[in-house]
């Protein structure tokens, strides 16, 4: 199976400080499911930002969908970003748009006909259990509700790569499992999934998932070989 993502000796430095990420090398196979764990401040979000093209690495090479992401000219970024769904750690919902319109955004950005927008948005709203809150604006939603809107928005366009940063941090365990099941369904349809999480319960819910651990900006396996979840060897 082809590699959807490949990091080679990637380093990231914000401003002039020390490196937040150092010598990060790994590959993600297309169609696979990965967990990224590590203590707070280890660099999970930073690594994901590189993955969804919100940051350029200070050094090293990132290959995405078989192309050198560092060499992408600006006008090709949108095309790449449309193939990636992102659940931001801080949600990043558009505050003056309703839940419905927030979820519909990726479809509208991609130029989907308005008549083809409603059905998938309604379906996603139902999936995350927020059909009744479709007209609500994010500031009036609870943290968990906002998170579910963010997840619905990330998956609605069936991206090739789904990147989720702490997607279950604000919901109860039952909802967390339901959301994880959503990711798994998407994964079965062919989407590669990367989920950063502190939640060790989740790691065992996806039988085929693999795990990466990051500490102090380095993948804890220096060879970059992916680890299977604990217990599965």
């Amino acid at each position: 199976m082809a590699n959807i993502v490949q990091f080679e000796n990637v380093g990231l430095r914000y401003g002039t400080g020390s490196e937040t990420l150092s010598d990060v090398s790994f590959t993600l196979k297309s169609g696979s499911f990965y967990f990224l764990t590590g203590p707070s401040g280890a660099g999970k979000t930073s690594l994901l930002k590189l993955l969804y093209l919100a940051q350029r690495p200070s050094r090293g090479v990132i290959r995405l969908f078989g192309e050198d992401a560092g060499a992408l000219p600006r006008q090709r970024l949108p095309g790449f970003r449309r193939r990636i769904g992102v659940v931001f750690q801080d949600f990043r919902l558009v505050p003056h748009l309703s839940a419905y319109d927030n979820i519909a955004l990726p479809l509208r950005v991609a130029g989907v006909q308005e008549s083809d927008v409603e059905a998938p948005v309604r379906e996603m709203l139902a999936w995350v259990g927020l059909t009744e809150r479709a007209r609500a604006k994010p500031p009036t939603l609870s943290g968990g509700e906002q998170q579910r809107i963010a997840i619905a928005r990330a998956v609605i366009a069936r991206p090739e790569l789904l990147v989720a940063d702490e997607p279950t941090g604000n919901v109860d365990p039952e909802m967390a499992e339901r959301l994880l099941y959503l990711f798994e369904s998407l994964n079965r349809l062919g989407t590669s999934v990367v989920v950063a999480t502190h939640d060790f319960h989740l790691l065992h819910r996806i039988p085929n998932a693999q795990m990466m651990r990051i500490e102090h900006g380095r993948l804890s396996d220096p060879t970059g070989v992916l680890r299977n979840p604990p217990g599965e060897s």
């Binding site: 969804y52 093209l53 919100a54 940051q55 350029r56 600006r74 006008q75 970024l77 949108p78 095309g79 790449f80 970003r81 449309r82 992102v86 931001f88 990043r92 919902l93 558009v94 003056h96 748009l97 319109d101 519909a104 955004l105 990726p106 509208r108 950005v109 991609a110 308005e114 928005r153």
Partner: protein, 294 residues
């Protein structure tokens, strides 16, 4: 489509800040008010210049200064006959002696009526299509001392004034257009800052810069058109009112200032032109600024 004024509601809401009428609408109303006034001035002056040219271009006066009255009269008769036959000459008429005396009365008193007074003969010529030099030559052959004057020559200072007013109006319009573009540029940059978070999200979801620019373009075009139409309406009402005053003056020369139907139509195009201008300015500003971000 650049001027899509009815984007889908969801897209209009994307950058919504909840204010139905914005400062930009007012600015555009004022800009268009001034521009339309300047435009009306310009068109009026162009019209007056053209009318002056039309009225004077073919008019000239031949003066025969000849002390011997009989010779003068025979020369004048021959002059009228000859000039009338020249190609392009539409009318030749000797100015009535009595009328001339009447005109000179303030200076000469009753002496002007004395038939022995050597008064020059004046011949009015209307020759729209004729060559001035040909007429002058023909006149000299009959009376070597004849003076041929173009009316245009006497009125050239007036004409100069009218035409500098036209150019002043054009410069004013260009200045206002420049100021409008600058205002739009500033507003677009401010808008990019205000909506930075939204724009970042849109970028992350794969929006192109052109898509984002379009959001701004539509807003600006809408504001410009809305304010512009109001400003234009106000300015045209004022111009219409002033024109009524002008026609009450009843001067032939001022008559040319009156706007023609074509002029009104041109003025009505100004808000559209400005909407296009601000759309373009917004696009340039947004694309330039976004081009510097990741």
């Amino acid at each position: 489509m650049i001027l899509g004024l009815h984007p889908h509601a969801s897209e209009r809401r994307l950058l919504d800040d909840g204010q139905p009428t914005r400062a930009m609408t007012w600015i555009m109303a004022i800009m268009l008010f001034l521009t339309v006034l300047a435009g009306a001035l310009g068109l009026g002056m162009f019209g007056a210049t053209a009318q002056l040219d039309r009225a004077l271009s073919g008019r000239l006066t031949v003066q025969i200064v000849e002390p011997i009255a009989s010779l003068r009269d025979s020369q004048a008769g021959a002059m009228v006959g000859t000039l009338a036959k020249l190609p392009g000459v539409t009318r030749v008429r000797e100015v009535d002696r009595a009328h001339l005396a009447q005109l000179l009365k303030p200076w000469l008193g009753d002496a002007g009526l004395d038939p022995d007074l050597p008064m020059p003969a004046m011949i009015d010529v209307e020759a729209a299509g004729a060559d001035f030099a040909t007429i002058e030559q023909a006149a000299r052959r009959i009376a070597p001392a004849a003076r041929v004057d173009r009316h245009a020559q006497w009125l050239s200072p007036v004409r100069d004034f009218l035409s500098s007013m036209s150019w002043l109006a054009v410069s004013l319009m260009l200045l206002i257009a420049g100021a409008t573009a600058a205002v739009v540029l500033l507003a677009a940059r401010a808008g990019l800052d205000t909506h930075r978070d939204t724009i970042d999200v849109l970028h992350m979801l794969g929006s192109t810069d052109v898509q984002i620019a379009r959001l701004f373009q539509r807003r600006i075009a809408f504001d410009t058109l809305l304010g512009g139409i109001a400003g234009t309406a106000a300015a045209l009402t004022l111009v219409w009112f002033l024109q009524g005053r002008l026609s009450a003056v009843g001067s032939e020369m001022l008559g040319g200032v009156a706007l023609q139907r074509r002029d009104w139509f041109l003025l009505l195009l100004l808000p559209l032109g400005f909407a296009l201008l601000s759309t373009l300015a917004a696009r340039v500003a947004v694309l330039r600024t976004l081009g510097q971000r990741l």
